[in-house]
Each structure stands twice: as C-alpha cells, then as structure tokens.
C-alpha cells in the first residue's frame, strides 16, 4: 500500500490564509466534509478535534501535526493535508504540515503505519520543503505520489520501540544504578558492555532484593518484624556491589521483527512490562507496556 492511495488531491490544501491551529483545523474539517459523507461533521467534528488535542498534543518536533479522530458508524480511512509555507506555532511546536486522519474504530494498525510513514517523511527536509512550496494541491499530490512512500501493513516491535534508551555497563556500582534510575525515573534498564553487547537486564526489584535477605522471602508473613531496618543492606552495599552481581542473565527479550501481538503476549505471559529488543546480541531498543498503551491503544 502506498501513501498516495489514501489521498485525493481534493483533500489537499496548499498555502492557506490562516493564523492559528483552530483555523487550520476548521479549514481541514470544511475540506473533508465537503468531499466526503461523514456521520459527524462541521462544528461537532472541529470541537472533538480540539478536545482531543487538549488531552494529548498531536504536533511532533519534526514539524508535522497529525490530529486523528476515530468515528462510529464509519468504515473508511480519510486523510486530508495542509501545507504551510510559513510555519505556525501549535503550542510550543513549530508546525508546517497538518494531516487530519479520520478512521473507523478498528483500523488502528493501518492508522499507526500511516502515522509511521508520515513521521518518516516529515524528517526528510528536502521533500517537506518541496511539499510546503508546492504550487497547488495537484502539485503536492504528485510529489507524494512520486516519492512512492509505502505503508507497511504489519506493525513490528522495531516500529514502536524506544531507540535512545538509557543503558548501564555491568561494572557500574549500585550507587550509579540508583542514580541513573532516579534521574530517568526508570523501573528497569538493559545492561550493555563496553563493546555494545547486550548482557542482561536490571530492574528495580533486583535492586530492592539486595536490601532484603533471601531467607525473608521464604516466609509467608513478615508483619512481626517491626524493628527490622528496612533495606539497610542495600545502602551499605551500594558501593561494593556491581550491576553484574544483581542483573538478570538471559532475560526474555524481543527481536525487532517481533509483531506487536507477540510482544504483548510475551509481556502478559511473563508478567514483564519491560522488554529489551535485541538482534545479534546487540541492543536495538526497549519496548514497555506503556509504549504499547500509548502508541497503539491510545493512538
């Protein structure tokens, strides 16, 4: 599937005379309602768009804003685009390209891939430059058509994983680990050695485990221990113990080409919300249950 297959030159608007986000959305709504029959339209649709925007901003640092509505009693995917030669401020983000997407309630996969393709394109400054300076809608459409951007039908872990993940070397002390976890508010992170090889994972529970003697975990009830110094041992040993002493070796990992369904199923099966994505023993990124929630369910 290609990006231009979802598009119609009628739904493209070039160099409009507008001052702010509301006007941009209003114009896109007019455009799409004129050309298509929708269950919700006009002011209603605009209000819903603005409301969603208030909940979670749709503008990305690469200069693209992708407002999106899932509609009941509707069975299609509609895309309308607007190119701005003079970027507008959407909150704190500079936007030169707005894409309105209307989908039914089920086609989240195609939607996500559509967004992924748009995001990739928005990082290609030369193409964006050409698009924002296109003479008219037909010119913009043919640029997109010529680019031949394909939309992947399947979604993989590689598409949603975080690439710039915080990692820790196996020789780091627990003090460094505690500092790093605190600084980035992380509950777990991959352990990567100096040659870039993935060697294991540490998480907050493996850290806390240092603070509680193993024999206590064998007891069903610890309520009687009123005077036990909590986690005293962890603080005492934070300079002596290293990450490699407490890390999980051979944790359950994902491959970049793992499907999202498989990733979710692995997370549920192993009750693990945090998965390292590894290929040929190299860490490629990290996927958390939260990523799936935000990028797949809430998208």
């Amino acid at each position: 599937m290609y990006l231009d297959s979802f598009l119609d030159a009628r739904d493209i608007c070039v160099n409009p005379d507008i001052q702010n986000k509301e006007q941009a959305y209003s114009m896109l709504v007019d455009l799409i309602c004129r050309n298509h029959k929708l269950p919700i339209c006009g002011e209603d649709l605009l209000q819903r768009l603005l409301q969603r925007d208030a909940e979670a901003p749709t503008a990305y640092p690469s200069g693209i804003a992708i407002p999106h509505i899932r509609m009941d009693d509707f069975d299609d995917i509609l895309v309308a685009m607007m190119f701005l030669p003079q970027p507008l401020m959407f909150g704190t983000t500079k936007v030169s390209w707005v894409v309105l997407i209307i989908t039914d309630k089920t086609s989240s996969k195609i939607y996500l891939n559509l967004v992924a393709a748009l995001m990739a394109l928005s990082k290609d400054t030369a193409s964006v430059q050409a698009l924002t300076t296109a003479e008219d809608a037909h010119a913009a459409f043919s640029i997109i058509k010529k680019l031949g951007i394909s939309i992947k039908i399947d979604l993989y872990v590689a598409d949603i994983m975080n690439i710039n993940t915080v990692t820790i070397p196996p020789e780091a002390t627990l003090r460094e680990l505690i500092r790093l976890m605190g600084m980035h508010s992380l509950a777990g992170l991959p352990v990567v050695d100096e040659t870039g090889l993935f060697v294991g994972e540490v998480n907050i529970l493996s850290l806390l485990k240092v603070g509680i003697p193993e024999y206590l975990t064998r007891m069903d009830n610890l309520d009687f221990l009123v005077s036990f110094e909590p986690l005293e041992r962890l603080l005492e040993q934070q300079d002596e113990l290293q990450v490699k002493d407490i890390m999980t070796l051979q944790p359950i990992i994902l491959k970049p080409e793992t499907s999202i369904m498989e990733a979710v199923s692995e997370m549920i099966k192993h009750d693990k919300r945090y998965m390292s994505v590894v290929k040929d023993n190299k860490l490629m990124g990290v996927v958390t249950a939260k990523d799936i929630f935000h990028k797949v369910i809430q998208a």
Binding site: P213, E214, Y215, L216, R218, M219, D220, D223, F224, S227
Partner: protein, 427 residues
C-alpha cells in the same frame, strides 16, 4: 548371569550413580531408568507400573496438601519465634529448643518440610543476634532426620516401610519413638556440651529479637482452628488404623483435600503447581519401577541370601548387620532410593528366616539405620541438602567436611543407642 540381569544391573547402577553424583536431576534419572527397563523388555510396562506403591505416592501428595494449608496459618513461624523469645535470646537455649522443635515437627510433617520452614527463621534470629547460624543449621538438619525416624509419617523411608509391610502407625510409635526420644535427649546433652560457651549476644541485639510481634503471624484464626481439627482427626484415624481398616494414603488424602476445600478453594491450581512437589513424586515412581526390575531378575534374592549367609541365619546378627549397613550406606546414598531397594530385600529375607516375630527387629533396624544414617554426611538426607542450600543462598557456606565432622558424631551415637535398644528390647 543372563543378559537380562546384566542390563538390569547396568541401568540400576547407572541410575544410582547419576543420583548420587548429582550429574542429573534425580527425578529425571529415576524416570529414565524406570522406563529404560521397560523399553529394554526386562519387565512389561504393566508390571513396572503395578510395582509403584500408590499408597506411598498418595500419602506424600496428601501430606503436601495438608502442609500447604498449615503453612499458611503461620502457626509454625509463631512457634519458632515464640521459642526464641521464651529462650530470652540465649543462643544455647534457642539451639537446644530448636533442636527439639525440629525433631517433633519432623515426626509429623517430614524432615524436609520442617527444615524449609524453620531454617529461614533461624537465619533471621541469628542475624538479629549477630551470631553465626551455621551450628544451628547443622544441628537442626540432624534433628529433622532424628524426628522423622520416630513415626510412620515422618521420614519417607518409614512410610515406604509401613506401606510395604503390615505395620501400622501405632507399631511405629511403639517401636521407634522410644529409641528416638532417647537419642534426641542424648543429642541435646551433646549440643549443650559442644556449644555451651561458644556464643555471646549483646543486650541491644537481644532487645531487637524480643520486640518481635509474633501474635501478628496468625492472621486467620478460623483457618487455624479448622486445620487443627482436621489434623487431630487425621492423627486419630492413623492411631485407629488397625480398627478402621483405612489405608494411610486415604487418610492423608482425605485430610489434604478437606483442608484444600476449606482454605484454598479458589487457588487449587496454584496449590497443585506450587505446593505439591511433583519432582519428588515422580522420583519415587521411577525408583519403584527400577527396583521392580531387580526383584524380577532375581538380584534382590541374591542379596537377601547374602545377608542371611553373612549373619549365619541368626536374626540378631542380621538385625545388627542391617542397622549398621543401612547406616553407613544411607550416609552416602539418599535414603529414599536406598530404602526402595532394601525393602524387597528384607521381604525376601523373611522367606528364609520364616519366623514373623524374628522379622520385627530387622524391619526396625532398617528404619533406624536408614533414617539416622542420613545424618552421616551432607548428602545423606534431603533435609541436609535443603538446609545447607538455604544457608548458602544467604551467604553461609557449609562445606561437606564441615557438616560431616558434626554429622558423623551424632550418627555414630544414634546407631550405638539404636543397637543397644534393639538388643535389649528384642533379643
């Protein structure tokens, strides 16, 4: 010797070597051995499976269910911590009281379970008192094997002997509890002499221990009451076994299933996965199958004849021979596989001796030797391995040598007392 016998001997010896050397998970070794003798056609599958003593298997499963519920009541932790407080934090008093409690609990719950419950608590107490837990752990492992000897439901070898013979719960109580009580008392005195002046505790550390709120441990009083009643009924049923004519497995399963129904109804699957030790269960099944091949091919008969010849056919000599031989061998071999092979042999001996009364001391010798011999070395009994394993995971390494140095003294002493007891009471 036929080719069949050679194959049998090979499978048996290899399996036992793999178990003793821990080259393989013991359950896996026993299962492979068990099905190898079927696969090679030494015995039919039907006969191999018939050889499994299901009374033992279901007794073990029933007891595991009972214990899974009892553990949840927190009563064992309550007893252990209460004891430490009654001892006012005095290490030698805690050590001797723990020895006795371990022995008593082992007599009813089995040695491994008791050690699994009590060793973590002792690690905690010793940690608070800032004293080394190593002598506590070694002596408790020893106590668990002694206590397990006292009743039919204590150590697995006893339930296997009880199941293979006509002896009831009361027979074990009359014949084995007296020597075990004597052995335990003497052992307590030995501990007192060995460790009396070795451990010092500061007042501050003692105060930490005394601040424990053990009353918070019993969270479900209703469950405790109910399970106490079930336990009491189980004990009565065992005592009246000869009158009621109910087999041990049925008694244990009835108790286990009723407790499961009362407490964990919604978590039956969890209990079956986590609280029933299937590895042990299948280990037993495999052993029964392998030993049957020894019976069928006539090896057991040869061994029985050997013992009879060596003792000149005199029950007194045979009894002593069995006691000391079992004591020595079960110090090296895990006592379950050992007794699995010994039971059919003693049964065979009875056909040669041909005097039921004369057989009694021989059976009790087998039990005393096997159970108490487990204390001889670190690998002699499962309870030792479990206790030392928990200690090592908490940073207290106990070497084979360290355990054996102490274990051998207590074993020798136990076997000596057992010999005197057997000679005085039965001959």
């Amino acid at each position: 010797m036929t080719i069949m016998m050679l194959i049998t001997l090979f499978v048996f010896v290899m399996t036992y070597i793999f178990i003793i050397m821990e080259w393989m998970n013991k359950m896996l070794a026993a299962m492979i051995g068990g099905f190898l003798i079927v696969l090679t056609g030494i015995i039919h599958q039907q006969d191999a499976l018939m050889a499994v003593d299901w009374n033992v298997i279901f007794f073990l499963i029933g007891m595991m269910l009972v214990i899974s519920v009892l553990k949840k009541t927190g009563v064992f932790m309550y007893i252990a911590i209460r004891t430490a407080k009654i001892a006012r934090g005095k290490p030698i008093v805690i050590m001797t009281l723990m020895f006795v409690i371990t022995a008593v609990l082992s007599a009813f719950l089995g040695s491994v379970t008791t050690v699994m419950i009590l060793v973590p608590i002792v690690l905690l107490i010793c940690g608070e008192l800032k004293i080394t837990p190593i002598p506590f752990i070694i002596t408790m492992a020893i106590a668990s094997n002694m206590g397990g000897t006292a009743t039919m439901v204590g150590d697995p070898p006893n339930i296997m002997i009880g199941s293979a013979t006509d002896y009831t719960f009361m027979d074990f109580l009359f014949n084995l509890t007296p020597p075990v009580v004597i052995i335990t008392c003497v052992s307590v005195a030995m501990i007192w002499l060995m460790y009396r002046n070795k451990m010092k505790v500061s007042m501050q550390n003692r105060a930490r221990l005394l601040s424990y709120r053990e009353d918070t441990l019993i969270t479900d009083k209703k469950l405790l009451l109910r399970s106490s009643i079930v336990l009491l009924l189980m004990l009565i049923a065992l005592i009246l076994q000869s009158v009621l004519k109910i087999e041990t497995a049925t008694i244990a399963m009835t108790a286990g299933l009723s407790l499961l129904l009362m407490s964990n109804r919604n978590q039956v699957e969890n209990v079956l996965i986590n609280d029933v030790d299937w590895v042990t269960i299948f280990f037993f099944i495999g052993l029964f199958m392998i030993v049957e091949s020894l019976v069928v091919t006539g090896f057991i008969d040869i061994m029985a004849k050997g013992i009879i010849d060596a003792s000149g056919g005199r029950p007194k000599t045979a009894s002593m021979l069995i006691l000391w031989l079992s004591g020595a061998l079960s110090a090296i071999i895990d006592n379950v596989p050992f007794v699995a092979a010994m039971i059919p042999m003693v049964q065979k001996m009875s056909t040669y001796i041909n005097n039921p009364t004369a057989m009694h001391p021989i059976w009790w010798s087998l039990s005393l030797g096997t159970c108490l011999g487990g204390n001889g070395t670190l690998v002699g009994a499962s309870a030792n391995i479990v206790a030392v394993g928990i200690a090592s995971r908490n940073g207290f390494r106990i070497s084979f040598r360290q355990f054996t140095q102490i274990g051998i003294i207590f074993t020798f002493n136990s076997l000596l007392i057992s010999s005197v007891y057997l000679l005085v009471r039965y001959f």
